[in-house]
């Protein structure tokens, strides 16, 4: 596990406010007859860093993908930044432009340069002038430490660099919430660190984050809450210390013993 990230985290800006960023109540989802998400209740406050863990197939990715409607939920209610997710396309596009998402496989646009990847959505969705969008993009590319790659194509970059570009691309939309869907699962160990460092620095700036990840070091260092899911439901949630040192549910104990045991 990536323990080295733990020591140097600056917690001064990591403050959780009372303002509710995401409110999920009694959310249920089915794939056909298969009940993937069962009675999910989750309240995320502004500034929270939540790590979602669990075995594969437990519904963790599906849950965060419901938050920006990449997946549709069939029952219950999701309110993001005060806007309820319904079938209204206007609301969906509004929420999507406020909520950044980083994928396991980066999903950069291979036919556009790094800079174009970053400026596309600000220019076409936010109607930001091109010059300004490019300046913002360069700012965030510097932040993820790859401004020199701006004019290359995604295919010319390593996996870790691509994932950092993907993070910069999301940040260019100035999102209020960031969703991370297993951002390091497709990376080599060396590259995992550079991506996690980027995520840590985001957390240090007080971004509201939901991360589906298996990086327990990151969870311990950055998260203020760890959620454990199994069989489509939230089995246990707690602050990281208590979660790792004193898990309550049998399923959590088994899971932790398996991933931390070696």
């Amino acid at each position: 596990m990536q323990q080295q990230a733990t020591e140097t985290v600056d917690r001064s800006q990591m403050t959780v406010s009372d303002e509710v960023a995401i409110q999920i109540t009694k959310m249920n989802k089915w794939y056909g007859n298969f009940h993937v998400l069962r009675d999910i209740d989750l309240t995320v406050h502004r500034g929270e860093r939540i790590v979602i863990a669990g075995p594969s197939g437990s519904g963790k990715s599906t849950m965060i993908r419901c938050i920006n409607r990449l997946e549709e939920h069939q029952a219950g209610k999701i309110v993001v930044d005060g806007t309820e997710l319904g079938s209204d396309l206007k609301n969906i596009d509004k929420i999507r432009s406020e909520v950044g998402m980083v994928f396991q496989h980066f999903n950069l646009f291979p036919h556009l340069t790094i800079l174009e990847n970053c400026t596309l959505a600000p220019i076409w969705v936010r109607k930001v002038p091109k010059k300004e969008a490019e300046a913002t993009a360069m700012h965030f590319l510097e932040k993820v430490k790859i401004p020199e790659q701006a004019h290359k194509y995604p295919g010319q970059l390593s996996g870790g660099q691509q994932q950092r570009v993907a993070i910069a691309r999301s940040l260019c939309m100035k999102p209020r919430i960031m969703l991370f869907d297993e951002p390091t699962s497709a990376l080599d160990p060396e590259m995992i660190k550079e991506v996690l460092d980027t995520m840590v620095s985001l957390a240090e700036e007080g971004m509201t984050m939901l991360c589906v990840t298996h990086e327990m070091g990151f969870a311990q260092a950055v998260a203020n809450r760890v959620i454990f899911m199994d069989a489509g439901q939230i089995v246990e949630q707690n602050e990281p210390k208590a979660f790792f040192n004193n898990p309550q549910h049998e399923r959590t104990k088994l899971f932790l013993s398996q991933i931390l045991g070696h």
Binding site: D93, K94, N107, R169
Partner: protein, 438 residues
């Protein structure tokens, strides 16, 4: 580096080995010939047999073509000249038919004093497609490409320039409607309105408007009827219009077939399957014969226009399937990333999905275009004088009765040049895009 084996394999090089040429038997033409033609006994036999076959064919074909006679007024005269030069047994081509009927093969029965119009149109056409085909041409030239269809129509058919301008104004009207209606009404309603308003305009206002403008400032060319057009000009008009129109229509159909909206989806599927499931020749007969029954009596709907519409619909069904393949080949992540950034459907299609899907589909699209271009020769069956039709007409004259090969070789060669260049362009484009994106 490592000193583990220092005792057992001690070695110090005292002279460096100079760079050397590979052995003669392992380089250059000798190696290539050996490897590719004479590597095994079987290959030796195959090579010898192939060379013999090639030699046999060429030894008959080349003298026939090269010794061909270019200067004669009829087949009979051709034969006389042949008897004089080579003797009566010689088999030589009579290319004179091409030089004598050159204009007819190019323009059909277009009035000779107006030949400058199709020639100018062809030059303008080349200028107009340059910015579409090659990114190195300044992007501003695309405005000329957009205006070109109307100018070309005017040049070829003549009449008043105001007619095409009035029609073009309809497209501008649609764009304006789209631009101002989209924020107020949403994308779908705006698209429908942007289709409906220009249609209304074309059916009501555009005719009188063109007439009125022409009365004020007459800009007229002599009218030429479609019936007078023929030869390669006809093939080009049908082929190029079909290509230019079927690509956008095919893309729309492919998107429709992928759509979640039930009615749009099913309409696209039915359209594609019906059009694709019936031979082109049947559609052409429909265009030339049956369509008249459905149109109000007295309407004279130009046959060439009907053929262009049918050819377009036919190849758009194929394009739709090719593009659908490209769309399906894109990873789902591309759609999701576009969605997650808040791009709406049209923007994500235009900016993310289609550029990639079309790039994948280039070989298939060009393949369809090549097929379409060659299929223009089928119009001979509904009485249009395409090059094949003209070759029949030429043979029907007493001068050239009995001449087959020369005309077919020439027509085949011309089609080959067009189709081969399309194929080469496709390769060029694929290579260029691959280089850019990697």
């Amino acid at each position: 580096m490592s000193d583990t084996h220092a005792q057992t394999v001690a070695f110090v090089r005292d002279t460096m080995v100079e760079e050397q040429e590979p052995p003669l038997s392992q380089s250059g033409a000798y190696k290539w010939i050996h490897e590719n033609m004479f590597s095994t006994p079987l290959n030796v036999i195959l090579t010898v047999v192939s060379l013999f076959v090639i030699w046999t064919v060429l030894s008959h074909l080349l003298p026939w073509a090269v010794m061909g006679i270019w200067d004669a007024d009829s087949l009979a005269q051709c034969r006389e000249i042949r008897d004089e030069i080579y003797g009566a047994d010689a088999s030589v081509a009579c290319w004179a038919v091409i030089s004598e009927r050159w204009n007819q093969l190019l323009f059909g029965f277009y009035p000779p004093e107006l030949y400058w119009r199709p020639v100018l149109a062809f030059v303008l056409f080349l200028a107009a497609i340059a910015p579409v085909l090659f990114a190195s041409v300044p992007r501003k030239a695309l405005w000329f490409s957009a205006a070109a269809p109307f100018v070309l129509y005017w040049l070829l058919w003549g009449g008043s320039l105001w007619g095409p301008i009035a029609v073009a104004a309809g497209f501008a009207l649609g764009a304006v409607v789209m631009r101002f209606a989209a924020p107020a009404l949403g994308a779908l309603a705006a698209v429908l309105l942007a289709i409906f308003v220009p249609l209304l305009y074309w059916f009501t206002l555009s005719g009188p408007l063109a007439g009125a403008l022409n009365a004020v400032i007459p800009l007229e060319l002599v009218n030429v009827r479609s019936n007078d057009m023929g030869g390669f000009m006809l093939a080009m008009i049908i082929g190029v219009s079909g290509i230019a129109l079927s690509l956008p229509l095919g893309i729309v159909l492919a998107l429709g077939r992928q759509s979640d909206l039930f009615i749009i989806n099913k309409c696209s599927v039915i359209f594609i399957e019906v059009i694709r499931g019936v031979p082109l020749i049947v559609w052409l007969f429909t265009a030339s014969l049956l369509l008249n029954y459905f149109l109000p009596p007295g309407t004279n709907f130009d046959l060439m226009l009907r053929v262009i519409i049918m050819v377009t619909l036919f190849s758009s069904a194929y394009i739709a399937e090719v593009v659908r393949g490209g769309l399906a080949a894109l990873p789902k992540g591309q759609y999701e990333a576009a969605d997650a950034l808040g791009l709406d459907y049209w923007k994500s299609m235009r900016l993310i999905i289609l550029p990639q899907a079309l790039k994948i589909s280039i070989p298939g699209i060009v393949n369809t275009f090549i097929g379409l271009f060659k299929d223009t020769t089928l119009v001979v069956f509904i009485g249009l004088l395409d090059p094949i039709g003209l070759s029949n007409a030429i043979r029907a004259s007493t001068d050239w009765n009995g001449i087959y090969w020369e005309l077919f070789v020439f027509i085949g060669l011309c089609f080959f040049i067009f189709c081969f260049s399309m194929g080469r362009y496709s390769l060029f484009l694929e290579k260029k895009l691959r280089r850019e994106h990697r």
